[in-house]
């Protein structure tokens, strides 16, 4: 892996419009049972403008930024050797249906450890007003050649 990737900030990916049915579909897939994820009336009563996305939904928005990283011509990342090591989501507010979100990726750390490389990438996700919603942080482990 190219160590010069550390500190690189990528161009924002095209915005992602959070659909109500996508939130419900994702919620079902992760076995969410909270009515906040499904029921507009319940979400409204709790003060939200629409149904609330589950805590890991941000990965759907983050995905395009990781694809951008893996496709970077000088990155030298062999996708077939990539393992997901760690994941974190740090929210300023929950994602709700109707949000138009834009993600920008930065590579914050590259380390080598016993033949493996570890790359930490932070995707900062903002809403249509530019206000921060969530930062999704992934650490990917790229296994060394056997």
């Amino acid at each position: 892996m190219n160590p010069e990737l550390q500190g690189r900030v990528f161009a924002p990916v095209p915005s992602y419009l959070v659909g109500r049915e996508k939130v419900r579909e994702f919620a079902r897939a992760v076995r969410a049972t909270s009515p906040l994820n499904y029921d507009l009336a319940v979400a409204s009563a709790a003060g939200y403008s629409d149904v609330v996305a589950p805590p890991t939904f941000a990965v759907v928005v983050q995905e395009a930024t990781l694809a951008q990283l893996l496709a970077e011509p000088d990155a030298g990342i062999d996708f077939s050797r990539v393992v997901h090591g760690e994941q974190r989501f740090s929210y300023t507010r929950p994602i709700v249906a109707g949000d138009e979100l834009t993600a920008t990726l930065a590579v914050t750390s590259i380390k080598s450890l016993g033949g493996h490389s570890m790359i930490t990438a932070e995707s900062s996700i903002v809403d249509a007003t530019g206000a921060h919603v969530v930062t999704a942080i992934s650490t990917l482990v790229v296994r060394g050649e056997e």
Binding site: A29, V30, S34, T56, E63, Q87, F89, Y91, P94
Partner: protein
């Protein structure tokens, strides 16, 4: 609520259908999550659940416990072991959620997530912020 209190416990049954459903919902169509031949060809013992599916369902007992009293403001995990999902037999993933830290208006909930007698997520911590 005191440090050490178990606030929720839950078991989740995962089948191949669960993985296909998550693939569609998340957009992660890596074939190691539904094709045995592809999983084996890259050196895996078989089809694995998406790590993000395990992460996604493991937080749900905390979300249910919270209800509308608050929200999850931070959630982190390490993926330490894979969850193998057989073509016919369900994989059972268990979650125990315990209070780790209590602070003004917020708490840290620590998750123990197990499959086949071993933990599959390390340092699984949920920060909840009370409304």
């Amino acid at each position: 609520m005191r440090v050490g209190d178990v606030i929720a416990e839950q078991a989740f049954e995962l089948s191949r259908d669960s993985l296909v459903r998550y693939a569609g919902a998340s957009g992660d169509f890596n074939a190691i999550h539904y094709r045995d031949d592809v999983a084996v060809s890259v050196g895996l013992p078989g089809v694995l659940a998406h790590g993000m599916l395990t992460m996604g369902l493991a937080v749900q007992p905390v979300v249910d416990w919270l209800g509308d009293r608050g929200w999850v403001s931070d959630y982190q995990v390490r993926f330490t072991r894979p969850v193998l999902v057989d073509a016919t037999d369900d994989a059972i993933v268990t979650v125990v959620a315990k209070v780790g830290v209590v602070e003004e208006g917020t708490a840290r909930i620590d998750l123990t997530v197990m499959f086949g007698g071993e933990t599959v997520l390390g340092r699984a911590q949920v920060r909840v912020t009370f409304a």
